[in-house]
Structure formats: structure tokens, C-alpha cells
């Protein structure tokens, strides 16, 4: 052990410096978090409302719920109880139930394609979709947002639940472009089959999980 050639920084000084810097930074971060929290929550609410109103035109308010095997329960935070599926109930101006919106996700060509779909209890069908997020190829996969013929599939997509209330009566299926023959089928976009199928699969998975639990209790949602 040779003696240090130059004055060495004492350990206490190093720890003190890092401690003080960490404390100041901690205060800054928590301050920023607290002061932006409200604006961020408000932004999220607006984004959600806009998306729900798009798939269920005519809706005026949105409430969050979870459908569990035991029934429907309102959600306050983001935590969904085990075995539950999150959905949004949309009400019109007079307070009547307009429809249900829920999120569906399917693996697309580049990444997961997430869509929000609107469900109407009257016709037991999906009445509209809107893309939440995707990274599909511009000009090809992103036609799912603009292709009118494809969006027509979701004006009255049949998602009736079977009499035993265990699953959909007919699974939602994406079929080859031009070969749609039933109300529960989705006519794929020519050249964008992978993305079309991702939407179909996502909706099928989500509807199979949500609707059997929801339909039996949908009366509880009426205010």
C-alpha cells in the first residue's frame, strides 16, 4: 500500500455530493409529476372520450366498467380485477345507454394493432371501429383507417352470444377479399390481409372474452 500521490477525495464528500444531487433531483421530479398530473389525466380523458364518441356517434358521456364472471362493476382507477375485462359504457344526452366500447388488440405485420370498437346491444353487433395505435406500413396496412369498403364491415358486424352465454354464436373471422358471405365475417383489404386479419382476430378475442360476461348483465348499465 503506497501513500496516495495527490490529495484523494474523502468518501464522505463523494457520498454527500451524490446524496445532495439526488435529493434536489428527486424534489424536481416529484414537483413536475404533481404539477402535471391533472393536465395529463384531463388529456387522457379527452383522448378516450373522442375515441369512444367516434365509434358510437351520438354519445355524450363515458363511464369505465369491468365485466367479471360475477357481474359488472364500475372502475375508478386503471386496475382491472382479476378475470375481468375493461369496457366503456357510453350514454347519450338523455342518459340512455348508447352502446359499449372496448379495446381489441391483434398482432399485425409490424406491431400490435390496437382498435376500439363500438357495440350496440339492440342489434348485438359492432357498429364502428377506430384505430388506437399501430405501426403498419404506410400506404398498405394503414388502409384499415381509410378504406371505406373495409370500414363497411364494421357497420353491423354480427357478434351475437350463443344461448349458453359461453361464447359468441359465430366467431368473427376475416375472410379473403371479396368472399364475405355472412354478417360475422370481415372482408379483408386486398394486399393488406395481415393487417385485416389482425383487426379481425383482435375483435374476436376481445368480444369472446367480454360479451358473454357482459350481455347477461347489460340491464344493470341503464341508469
Amino acid at each position: 500500500m503506497s501513500a496516495p500521490e495527490q490529495s484523494q477525495t474523502p468518501a464522505s464528500k463523494m457520498i454527500l455530493t451524490m446524496g445532495v444531487v439526488a435529493c434536489v433531483c428527486g424534489v424536481l421530479i416529484v414537483g413536475a409529476f404533481q404539477s402535471t398530473q391533472e393536465a395529463i389525466a384531463e388529456n387522457k380523458r379527452i383522448v378516450l372520450e373522442r375515441a369512444v364518441f367516434k365509434v358510437l356517434p351520438g354519445a355524450a358521456t363515458v363511464r369505465k366498467y369491468a365485466a367479471t364472471p360475477a357481474g359488472i362493476q364500475p372502475l375508478t382507477g386503471d386496475a382491472v380485477p382479476e378475470g375481468g375485462v375493461k369496457f366503456y359504457a357510453a350514454y347519450d344526452q338523455s342518459g340512455g345507454l348508447k352502446g359499449i366500447a372496448a379495446e381489441a388488440a391483434g398482432k399485425g405485420y409490424a406491431d400490435t394493432v390496437r382498435v376500439l370498437y363500438g357495440y350496440e346491444a339492440k342489434c348485438q353487433c359492432i357498429v364502428g371501429i377506430s384505430v388506437v395505435s399501430m405501426r403498419e406500413t404506410p400506404g398498405i396496412g394503414d388502409k384499415i383507417i381509410t378504406d371505406q369498403a373495409f370500414l363497411k364491415n364494421f357497420e353491423a358486424l354480427d357478434v351475437r352470444v350463443n344461448p349458453e352465454m359461453t361464447a359468441l354464436a359465430n366467431a368473427v373471422k376475416t375472410v379473403k377479399h371479396g368472399s364475405k358471405s355472412n354478417a360475422w365475417q370481415i372482408d379483408a383489404i386486398a394486399g393488406a390481409t395481415v393487417t385485416s386479419k389482425a383487426v379481425g382476430r383482435g375483435i374476436n378475442d376481445s368480444a369472446q372474452a367480454l360479451l358473454p360476461k357482459l350481455v347477461a348483465h347489460i340491464g344493470e348499465l341503464q341508469p
Binding site: T9, M14, T17, M18, I29, N43, V47
Partner: protein, 211 residues
């Protein structure tokens, strides 16, 4: 903050212009390529990313420069990273509060500003050795240079790949977008083009120096 100025701490125009031109982070030093290639699919994304990075760069350089004589050199990198990470977290919350759409478009690249080598590079090479005002001016120059670089890429890619600039259609209905330009390979094509252009522009005065 008014420290006594030493001889080498004089602030000249070059303190600012260093980052904009001579040492431009994108076109000359080719630093921070991860956000440069990834988020420049549109002019507005590029500009927002540039502004966010500039904010982190300037604030962290100011703080680091103010405490430069207090931080023992053994723990300086750890200290700098904590400071940089703090400002990145602030920007993260601010962008969420301003626009969630922008936040989703920039995605993970906001958090990744922490590891942007331009910032730690400036902290280590400049802010830790110079007084606050000079560091801030230098950092601002670097930030402006980075923003110009991102905007040059983002603008070009949006015009070629979508026929728009800031979402406004430039060529009308009949323009067939050059889609590859907004896909990942387009980032490399456009960056290559700009690097070539910059090298040509810089090569004229440099030949006199026998370089």
C-alpha cells in the same frame, strides 16, 4: 452566476455557432443517431424532438456547470446522469401534459434522451470545464444544431414520403407519395443525402487547410 471570467472563458460567436455549424451533432459529429433516424418521419415530430432534447441539454449543462467545482471527479459521470435523467423525466411529463398524440408519436425516444450522447458529451467535454453562461450558450448552439439536423431530415422525409409539410398537403391529390421515405430505410437514404451535401459544403474551405 456571474463568475469572474478567465482568459479561455471568453464568450465568442463561435461558442454558439460551434454546435450549429462546425461541430453540428447530426451532420458533422454524427451523434445521437437513434432519435435522428427513428422520429424524423414528419417535420412536427422532428421539431418537437429537437426542442425536447435542447431543453434537456441546456438545463442539464447549466446545472452541471454551476456545480462543476463541487462534484468530485470520481463520481462525476454518475452525478451527470442523475441530473440528465431528471430533466428528461420533466420533459416526459411536460409533453404528456401538452399533447398525448405527440407523446405517442415520439414514444420511447423521449425517455431515451437520457442516453443521447450529445448531452453527456456536452456535460463532460464542455459544461464541466466552463462557467454557466458559456456552457448554456454552447449547449443552446448544440441544441439548435441538433434541431436543425432533425428538421432537415423530418421535413425532407415528410415532403417526399407523404407529400405534406406540417400535415399540409403540398402537391395536391395526384401526388404519389414515395412511401419508403417515411419507412426506416428512408431515414438512412435521407441522412446519407444530407451528410453528402454537408461534406461538399464543408470541403471547400477545408481544402485550404490541407485536410
Amino acid at each position: 452566476m456571474s463568475l469572474p471570467e478567465q482568459a479561455d472563458d471568453s464568450i465568442t460567436l463561435d461558442t454558439f455557432l460551434e454546435g450549429v455549424w462546425r461541430q453540428n451533432p447530426v451532420f458533422v459529429m454524427v451523434l445521437g443517431m437513434c432519435p435522428t433516424l427513428a422520429v424524423t418521419v414528419s417535420a412536427i415530430n422532428a421539431l418537437s424532438m429537437g426542442v425536447a432534447t435542447t431543453f434537456v441539454l441546456v438545463s442539464s449543462c447549466l446545472l452541471i456547470s454551476m456545480i462543476r467545482n463541487l462534484v468530485p471527479k470520481e463520481v462525476r459521470i454518475a452525478t451527470y446522469i442523475v441530473i440528465i435523467a431528471t430533466f428528461v423525466t420533466l420533459v416526459d411529463y411536460l409533453i404528456q401534459a401538452v399533447s398525448l398524440k405527440l407523446y405517442e408519436a415520439l414514444g420511447a425516444f423521449i425517455q431515451l434522451i437520457v442516453v443521447n450522447c450529445i448531452i453527456l458529451g456536452r456535460a463532460e467535454a464542455h459544461a464541466s470545464k466552463h462557467p454557466p453562461l458559456k456552457s448554456v450558450i454552447n449547449a443552446l448552439g448544440m441544441g439548435v444544431g441538433f434541431t436543425i439536423g432533425l428538421f432537415a431530415l423530418g421535413g425532407t422525409r415528410e415532403i417526399l414520403g407523404a407529400g405534406n409539410l406540417f400535415g399540409i398537403s403540398l402537391f395536391g391529390e395526384h401526388f404519389q407519395p414515395w412511401v419508403v421515405m417515411v419507412l426506416p430505410p428512408g431515414g438512412f437514404f435521407v441522412l446519407g443525402g444530407w451528410l453528402l451535401l454537408f461534406a461538399l459544403l464543408r470541403s471547400k474551405p477545408a481544402t485550404e487547410g490541407g485536410h
